[in-house]
Amino acid sequence: MTMLSRRDLCVTAGQVIVATSLAGPAMAQRPRSGVPRAEDVASALAELGSADLLAGDPGASVAGVALIADPSLAALRKAVAAGCSLIVSPETPFYGKPADPAASGPFAAMAEAAAKALRDSPAFRAKQALIAEHKLTIYRVAPRAEGGADTSVEALAGQFGWSGNRIAGAHPIYRPPALTLAALVALAHQRLGANGGLRFIGDPALRLSSVLLVPGTAEAVSTTQGLRHADALLTGDMREWELVEYVHDSAEAGFPKGLVATGRILSEQPFVERCALAVKQAFPHVKLQSLLSADPFWRAQA
């Protein structure tokens, strides 16, 4: 499998995205002509997931589309500079989901204060200004998950070259070629660009015959139940006082397992690339910018 670089994934009109991670089930997107509206592009992603409008006009004509795993201010500026007016991301550019004061009971005042502080913050206002000035439309795309299959899982498996290696069952577990935990860590570094945000638990020499893939954030209950049937988990992010303890305890219990956490953004990157391919197939004439997000974390050497 070819290692991906940022350059491989920056594409513009007339170019074809060439990335091995995009190998997978062909998406039957019939090319469409004319200038699409933002909502037309969003609908082209229906096979991969659902797109929710976060900002802008869904009926706006699209000058170009930017697909971004991490919709940071810097990434939005790059998208604007590249002539894109539609942003598609699996994340919100507004830092998460603020608490709803109406649903916060005794903490309503605190939730309202936090929401106001966010609205008044320089970063939020800068993003809003950029969106308004350049008439950006932003959609958040969530992967489609049906019957244990998840388009973001399939994309991540494809990134590792494991697309055909799914083990039958309720959980997204894949059979890798002969692999140790250390080799899986190295693979996450090479294929996903994980650096300072890359962490793992377990014996580096642990031999893995099955890996549970949970891109994004691994929820404690379902992930623990899936991990029971796998040698290791590869995920983006997780709460450290729940399934982290399960994996940490596994060796002492005599059933050693491994965990590799790449950071949420990087684990979602292959899904973003799948979305880019779908847009490209549906609108081959539209300018497309797929911005590969770098590891947002670094680690200070001792």
Binding site: D70, S72, L73, A74, R77, P90, E91, T92, Y95, G96, K97, P98, D100, A114, A117, S121, P122, A123, R140, A182, V185, A186, H189, N195, G196, G197, L198, R199, F200, G202, G216, T217, A220, V221, T224, R228, G236, D237, R239, E240, W241, V244, E245, Y246, V247, D249, E252, A253, G254, F255, R264, I265, A294, D295, P296, F297, W298, R299, A300, Q301
Partner: protein
């Protein structure tokens, strides 16, 4: 003394030290395993009742474990999702075989003033808080000397012994004022706009769109892009709430006589980064 009697004494002692009453009975701070009416042979405090901590406690003859975090891989410690999971069953059998008793001290500890987790983390980091904001828990520290974010990360990692820390922000930014977090209690850069950096445990990345979240790392990155540089050093959950449980052991020794009390560190669950597989040099202009 039995665990039940000791827990009752702990609550009375905390109340006598002006700990606010709980708004509702804690669902976290309960006995997880064992007979609360057995006699205590020894006490171990820890950040997390991992299997390794339990083995050490049993080997040292300490049958009562006071843990800050959960035992059964889930915040509420409800085990219905585990069924006949072999890891769960092995840990459970070990606890039963060694007649260990486990009680969680999470919500009470965080209600105390000062909160021993924050106080302990400040002690580990060797800093004194200028103020607490927002009240009643989050300490703000003016560093004795300004330092770069890179130097701050090295300092915090060295003081806590955390090898798998993560950092976001410009490594060369100058940090003068720091907000301290522990565990998942993470300061918000929105609430303390005058701080340059956070030294905390863990904080949610992104959002699944269901639970209220704030991706502090993403916010710090955008502030940095705007020239209003902010940095975050993530020490991990056990990098911030394990060693502070030594304060709880010290506090217990003040009113529990004739029972040996020790802090048993859970330690960092993550393996140290492997040489050669991870580039630890921060990329310039990452964002």
């Amino acid at each position: 003394m039995t665990p039940r009697e000791l827990v009752d004494l702990i609550y009375r002692k905390a109340a006598a030290e002006d700990t606010p009453p709980a708004p509702a009975p804690s669902r976290r701070d309960t006995f997880k395993m064992g007979d609360p009416d057995a006699q205590i042979t020894g006490i171990a405090t820890t950040g997390m009742s991992t299997f390794r901590v339990l083995r050490r406690a049993a080997a040292e003859g300490r049958n009562f474990i006071i843990t800050h975090e959960d035992t059964w891989f889930r915040d509420n410690d409800i085990v219905d999702f585990l069924g006949d999971d072999p890891i769960y069953l092995a840990k459970k059998a070990f606890i039963e075989r060694n007649k260990l008793i486990i009680w969680r001290n999470h919500d009470l500890a965080h209600r105390m003033r000062p909160d021993p987790l924050f106080a302990g983390q400040l002690r580990t980091l060797g800093w004194t808080a200028d103020r607490i904001e927002p009240e009643p828990r989050m300490p703000i520290v003016t560093l004795p000397e300004p330092m770069t974010l890179r130097a701050l990360a090295r300092y915090a990692a060295a003081r806590t012994g955390v090898k798998s820390h993560r950092v976001t922000g410009d490594p060369d930014m100058i940090v003068r004022k720091v907000a301290i977090g522990v565990g998942y209690a993470f300061p918000s850069l929105l609430a303390v706009p005058d701080v340059d950096a956070i030294v905390g445990g863990e904080s949610a990345e992104g959002s699944n769109g269901t639970i209220p979240t704030m991706d502090q790392s993403a916010f710090a990155a955008d502030m940095t892009t705007l020239g209003k540089k902010r940095g975050i050093v993530f020490l991990g959950h056990m990098g911030t709430e394990d060693s502070p449980m030594s304060l709880v052991a010290e506090w217990l020794r003040g009113f529990v006589r004739d029972i040996p009390i020790a802090f048993l560190p859970a330690g960092e669950p993550f393996h140290p980064p492997l040489a050669g597989s991870v580039d630890t040099v921060p990329a310039a202009n990452r964002r």
